[in-house]
Symmetry: C2
């Protein structure tokens, strides 16, 4: 397809597509003559992903470039390819290891992983931004005097593991490794808001069941 | 306790506490003499909540004031009190009803609620921001060509309902209605990042289990 059709099918303006091409977020089309290039479905798919990251996920252009480099890196095994792509997304800063709540949250989080038997996640604690952001979130709740039992955290984690199984099952329905990595990144950027909405809606439903509406 | 102790126990500076007092986010203490007021545990609890909303949740001061008005409104039943407090938090804008993806996402979301038997949530669709943001999220995924089955959405929703049951069970361990409403608001602001971190960590665990690390 030509640039005009790519624009129409993606809903992205030709000016924006040209900008993505210049920034290296989209591979060049096949040159047909001096002024015309031909694009295919792979361009369309990549364009939708780039647009979603930038417009919906508010991911900076330089970060998108970094994520795509990992998505396209065929030298990586699948876990590391997905991991590297996801880990290039904006992450929480390193927690302050001198803070007493952070230190105790680290202990609590390590204990959690052990209780859950998540040995793969435990192998990644020194490099995983997900682990780091969990420590930050637990420390913030504890600092506020949130006084929950370790069992509650375990129960939430088991639910999120079931969600991860659904995520990967869905990802595996996509044929190529590059598409799988794309879906994983899009999921991180877009499925999260959907889960959050479902969660709030479920709270309203459950609240109505328990306490009625009067 | 005096202002200095309130500051020490909350970790909030006296200057910031005075600012919250001036802005009406914190009730005045009991005046002891011209320059000294006495504060109690309720002030401490409220102060932690206000700080969390502003510093962690990045909620604007005017919004915090609105949320607190609902938290403290004893004329409301519990569901509406929780709802009104949560709904004053920043929300997604109204989706564009002329957009074909939005319209089809509305249909899909209503079908979802019917399949789930969430009659309470269905009763709130015209006023619930959670419903609105779910429609927006589903429309965004569909526009990107995310081609999942309705069963997947149902499966995610059931997991989020189990999370909501955990949320409300935990909320019910808090004695007063005001504390319950506070916990619900804090949960919306703070538990969400924790769930998101658990979700990503679970994806890493599951990815390691399925594909190894090479």
């Amino acid at each position: 397809m030509r640039l005009a059709e790519l624009s129409e099918r993606s809903g992205v303006s030709t000016a924006t597509i040209k900008y993505y091409l210049r920034e290296g977020l989209l591979a060049s089309g096949r040159q047909i003559n001096a002024t015309t290039s031909e694009y295919d479905d792979e361009h369309l798919r990549r364009l939708r992903m780039v647009r979603a990251m930038i417009q919906v996920g508010r991911v900076p252009v330089a970060t998108v470039r970094k994520v795509l480099r990992h998505v396209d890196d065929e030298s990586l095994g699948r876990t590391m390819r997905l991991g590297a792509a996801l880990w290039s997304l904006p992450q929480v800063p390193e927690p302050d290891a001198d803070d007493e709540f952070v230190r105790s949250a680290q202990g609590e989080t390590e204990q959690l992983l052990e209780t859950l038997g998540w040995s793969n996640a435990r192998a990644l604690v020194t490099i995983s931004p997900a682990y780091r952001s969990l420590v930050v979130a637990v420390a913030a709740l504890r600092r506020l005097g949130y006084d929950w039992s370790p069992e509650l955290l375990v129960a939430y984690a088991r639910l999120m593991h079931q969600a991860a199984v659904l995520d990967l099952d869905f990802m595996e329905t996509h044929p190529s490794e590059a598409e799988k990595a794309e879906i994983a990144v899009l999921g991180a950027v877009l499925v999260q808001p959907m889960l959050q909405s479902l969660h709030r809606l479920a709270q309203e439903e459950e609240s109505g069941r328990r306490y009625g509406f009067e």
